[in-house]
Symmetry: C2
Subunit: 341 residues, 2 copies
């Protein structure tokens, strides 16, 4: 096993060259007071000449802060191909730039069930973004550990535990309302719904919203107009035939995620159903792909990038502001009209 040891320039090297104590150089590097302007100037010049670069790891060890944003993501074989998450991450990366932090990723299956808190301790992550919590797993102890130890974090999902935490989510009721009102305006009153995963925050919320609003708006109320997916493409493709087989077919289908809508679209095409001619189709999320499908999918946009950025903003505030109360940011969805309705 090779080692690299040609050591790089440290704060002590700079100090020696400048003929001062290395603690003084440290003060300069951190823009702290109590250093005379001319000495500061001189040290800065020398450190530039020498190409000094602070060692973030040593800094991290002593200060117990890491200058990173740690993103914890759920077990998923091909996480980095799921554009839903990636748009959130794009927002997170934006924020990283703003706060000058590097980005670290931790996959839950890799960390073998280690708690969020343990991950943060292990890597001295002081700012953590938690994506898409699995509701079958009880994370309340974990959340408490994070809070008790003063680690700043946000969830990008709704959190139902009793602890007050930073979280960012979309207004699902409003999103479903936008969709249903739009479909109603197109004359639909018999609407099929493909629900999302019951083990998430969004799945049940959108389902409830659909039930409540479709009743209120006077749509057909048959039990079998609702089928149950899990947000994935495959589940959309699998579930939509149940709607198509109904003696009395819906005139529009609303899927609780874009992936399911695209899956449904494939299944519908396979049966020769024309969209929107024979049947209208709507999705939810506005992920990257949906502008490219044929027909381009009408959907409800979740402001995913904003959500990622906001999650970091909140965590940063709870780190910096003395009496910051953790908060839930509920962002507004938006109707994106394309050609599938």
């Amino acid at each position: 096993m090779k080692r690299f040891d040609k050591s790089s320039i440290t704060i002590k090297d700079v100090a020696k060259r400048a003929g001062v104590a290395h603690s003084t150089v440290s003060l300069v590097m951190n823009d702290r007071e109590h250093v005379s302007p001319k000495l500061r100037e001189r040290i800065l010049k020398i450190s530039n000449e020498m190409g000094y670069m602070p060692n973030m790891v040593a800094r991290s060890l002593i200060s117990k802060k890491s200058a990173t944003v740690g993103v914890v993501f759920p077990e998923n074989p091909h996480f980095f191909t799921i554009t839903y998450f990636l748009m959130i991450i794009d927002g997170i990366q934006n924020a990283c730039k703003k706060y000058d932090r590097a980005l670290m990723f931790f996959s839950l299956d890799q960390t073998k069930g280690e708690s969020y808190y343990k991950i943060s301790r292990k890597w001295l992550i002081d700012l953590m973004i938690i994506l898409n919590v699995d509701y079958t797993r009880d994370i309340s102890k974990d959340i408490r550990d994070l809070k008790d130890n003063g680690i700043a974090f946000s969830l990008v999902t709704k959190y139902n535990g009793k602890e007050k935490v930073n979280s960012v989510c979309v207004d699902n009721l409003e999103g479903v309302r936008l969709a249903l009102e739009y479909l109603a305006s197109k004359g639909h009153k018999r609407i099929g719904f493909i629900s999302g995963s019951p083990n998430s925050a969004d799945g049940p919320e959108r389902l409830d919203a659909f039930k409540v609003l479709s009743k209120k708006m006077g749509f057909d109320q048959d039990e079998d107009l609702i089928v149950h997916g899990d947000f994935t493409f495959e589940s959309g493709e699998r579930e939509v035939p149940k709607l198509l087989e109904l003696k009395k077919r819906p005139t529009a289908i609303f899927a609780a995620s874009d992936y399911m809508a695209i899956g449904a679209m494939r299944a519908m095409k396979a049966q020769g159903i024309s969209i929107p001619g024979d049947m209208a189709l709507m999705g939810f999320d506005n992920t990257l792909e949906v502008a490219y499908v044929e027909p381009p999918l009408t959907t409800i946009r979740q402001p995913l990038q904003e959500m990622g950025e906001k999650a970091v903003d909140l965590a940063v505030r709870s780190m910096n502001e003395e009496n910051f109360e953790p908060q839930m940011a509920v962002l507004k969805p938006e109707l994106i009209k394309r050609q599938s309705c």
Copy 2:
């Protein structure tokens, strides 16, 4: 500014509880020899009870290794929405799991032109993957610094400098050949080409391959059958009209990237051109989106996930094997037949 200081369990805490020196605990934690089985057992038990977790930062500082893979990515406003890179990253993440390393990202615009080497020193990154080198920037000094200091790295692009380095790329000549032979087999002999960015490795390579092969295969050789894009959607949309305006139109268009092909597709649709009825269209890459466009795009697959994984594999080997010679891995492309030809 709040601080979190409720300190966590360290190796010394475990040592104290076990009544041994902390260096002994260290030996146990690292599975090193020279510890009697029964003591090892006891220490392991105690450390589990106490929930000990090694501090990776301290470990990193002393060992000058970081247990991470650092990915350096090019300046790009929305990097995390570019599926081309993300598929590579998905492969890198796979490898991270395999080698039990965490993933770190460094955006070149954020690091404000810091050299790769400086980034690696700053964060003690000992394994680095460099995505998509900009050929207008001379990185040879940077590359030499990395090599001289024993930092393992791979480029995910072809590297033309004189230093031997790990790199992973696709066989562009073969890819273009697959595309052209397929088009020829469909009876095309007048083929328009949209080239990629001249500041990359792949752009000029695919362009040259097109020129050479299209001559060899006896296709029409008009200068204006070639237009110049930069791999982006917008450039495809912008450039393709030049081909459509030709007095003698091509019967097929081959774009050097999928994004350009999709852009071209939009422009062609806007002019009422039917694909593949009026004109065939091929892309290159097989990014995520192209299966969803209408018609689904026939393209040349780059094995992006494999490339990401291979890049890490090579870097790991050059770190672990005493006399490992850096190598260039040229992966084979593959023809993906869909419905645009």
